[in-house]
Amino acid sequence: MNDLKTNRLVQAFAELRAAGKKTLVPFLTAGYPDLAGTRAMLEDFEARGVRVAELGIPFSDPIADGPVIQSSYTEVLASGQRTDQVLEMVREYREGGGKLGLAAMVSYSIVFRHGVQRFLDQCSQAGVDAVLIPDLPLNEAGEVEKLARSRGLANVMLIAPTTQPPRRLEIARHSTGFVYYVSIAGITGERDRLSEATLAAVAELRTHVDLPICVGFGVSNPATVAEVCRVADGAIVGSAIVHRIQQHKDLPPAELAARIGAFVSELLAPVL
């Protein structure tokens, strides 16, 4: 795979748009509670109608993340799991026929240490479709953008509420796959509702940007998914899912996947 047009994630959004549909992008901490569990959940989500998912690669110092995702990362790292094993799981998921568009959220600390080229090669060989590097803002992203594109990987960039309008458009121009609108100035975590200002900002962005727009940070229930999807192409739900995994992590893998899957179905309902 070395062309963005044949990228699974890009195609998934194209098909959704052609069908006039919006989507839910569930986030999973890779390897939480373990890698077999993550894979089982991805397969379960796909069966329920999810098209694109985000995989958080555990990092020791995730400064954009709230307590729920942070503590899942800490637990996974304490078990000894590292990034290579996550990519191995993705490879096995693909070998098993998994078709979700997968965006790997990964700190630049990890990317840099692996070597940008080598890391992107590993991602694309494993079957990752997009990288999303939350601590690599536009000013520093040139190299990744170029190298990702030449490997047919999307590079998803983020726009924050604090981003000035001209810069929003520039970020959207450089982003591939989709552009991630961060709904609040702050860290990840569950919030009951989104502000009108957020929805208005996304609607405004929509009028200038053709690339799919997904909204995340704080989206945590079916009502907010529905709200977001009035103006955006997708709603990203992270902490609310990881929180439920935390509550049920001692269940056998199949039961855990079913539990979490049931919640994902609730979140999907407004967009199916």
Partner: protein, 403 residues
């Protein structure tokens, strides 16, 4: 990998090091800060205000002190101390917090936050917040709250809230993470006063500039005391702010050798020390590319030092640049040597150094006898040891040393 030539001429870079590796949410604030800082530095009014704060609040200039008895005992170079321990609040940290507090006022922000390890930066931030009427929250690892309890009390007494951080190793790195997270959500009305020359641009250059009063004064004081510059300057390195502050104004003076001393901790095995420049490699942490201690996956390594202010897995990007171009040498000093240096300096000169500064003193004790009698060795005594007295007492007791 990004190469030196790619980044050498980009703003915010020192050779290949530096940059702004932070979430997009913070970019607007960094831009605002850069713009305000540039404007302030070109404004004689700001410089005048800062000089007055240095004089009237910090008590600058700090003295240059000749260690007569220590010099005689070691029988080599003449040892001088730059007495940052004599500053108000007890360390060099005040030089930076005064500068950043003035910028906070200029930006119209009403609240400041800070991370602290030894508590000296927290105390200096709390003090500046009290002087200028700002709200102040300080993040501090719970392990550091234990070992630097005097400073916790001082911060609270001056009206700051001290928020314990119990993630990771419960030390400086974890406090910095939590302060960044606070800033992510409060950036519109809050300024984050980073306490060292690390973090995203413009912090490394800005904090170095605010700390450069140390080296500018020392340069002048040396010339008037000895008619020449020192042969060697030694400073301890945590994030690198006191070292950058004394080195930068003499970095162009080729005759002056410079050594930065990192925490050698218990041993030089990963996890037992905090010597990022001596034993780490280039990587990204807390907003900039520099030397860091991490595993092969890019996960930040555990670190250890007896000194809370040096107990940090990263270091400022400019110090990394100085390493690569061979301008500054870096070495380590173990926990035990630092404790010994506290005792030595206390007995020889009646000066109780902070545990951080004791790392520099220990290196000076090693270097002085190797130097010629007329040569000059200048040590940046970055802070005083009052805050460490309980910790030092219990360590000495464990070692069976009678005081």
């Amino acid at each position: 990998m990004t190469t030196a030539s790619d980044n050498a001429t980009r703003a915010g870079y020192f050779g290949p090091y530096g940059g702004q590796y932070v979430p997009e949410t913070l970019m607007a604030a960094l831009e605002q800060l850069s713009a305000e800082y540039d404007k302030a530095m070109g404004d004689p009014g700001f410089r005048g205000d800062l000089d007055r704060c240095y004089r009237e609040i910090a008590g600058r200039p700090s003295e240059l002190y000749f260690c007569r008895r220590l010099t005689e005992a070691l029988g080599g170079a003449k040892i001088y101390l730059k007495r940052e321990d004599m500053n108000h609040t007890g360390a060099h940290k005040i030089n930076n917090t005064l500068g950043q507090a003035l910028l906070t006022l200029r930006m119209g922000k009403k609240r400041v936050i800070a991370e602290t390890g030894a508590g000296q930066h927290g105390v200096a931030t709390a003090m500046a917040a009290a002087v200028f009427g700002l709200d102040c929250d300080v993040y501090m690892g719970t392990e550091d709250i234990r070992r630097q309890s005097l400073n916790v009390f001082r911060m609270r007494l001056m009206g700051a809230r001290v928020i314990g951080v119990s993630s990771g190793q419960c030390t400086l790195k974890d406090a910095l993470n939590e302060a960044m997270r606070d800033w992510m959500g409060s950036v519109e009305h809050t300024h984050y006063i980073i306490g060292t020359v690390a973090g995203p641009h413009p912090f490394p250059a800005m904090v170095r500039e605010f700390q450069s009063c140390i080296g500018r004064e020392a340069r002048k004081q040396m010339l008037s005391a000895e008619g020449r510059l020192p042969d060697l300057i030694v400073a301890c390195v945590g994030g690198g702010s006191n070292a950058a502050g004394i080195f930068a104004p003499m970095i162009a003076d080729a005759s002056v050798r410079m050594i930065g001393v990192e925490a050698g901790g218990r041993s030089l095995n990963l996890g037992d020390h905090a010597a990022s420049l001596s034993l780490g490699r280039p990587g990204v942490l807390h907003g900039s590319l520099s030397y860091i201690l991490q595993d092969a996956d890019g996960q930040t390594a555990d670190v250890h030092s007896v000194s809370a202010g040096l107990d940090y897995p990263g270091v400022g990007p400019e110090l990394a640049y100085w390493k690569d171009i061979g301008r500054v040498g870096y070495t380590t000093c173990g926990d035990d040597e630092a404790i010994d240096a506290v005792v030595t300096l206390s007995r020889a000169e009646g000066i109780i150094p902070a545990l951080e500064s004791a790392h520099a003193v220990a290196e000076a004790i090693k270097q002085a006898p190797k130097m010629k009698k007329g040569q000059i060795l200048l040590v940046n005594l970055s802070g005083r040891g009052d805050k460490d007295c309980n910790e030092i007492a219990s360590i000495l007791e464990r070692k069976g040393v009678k005081i």
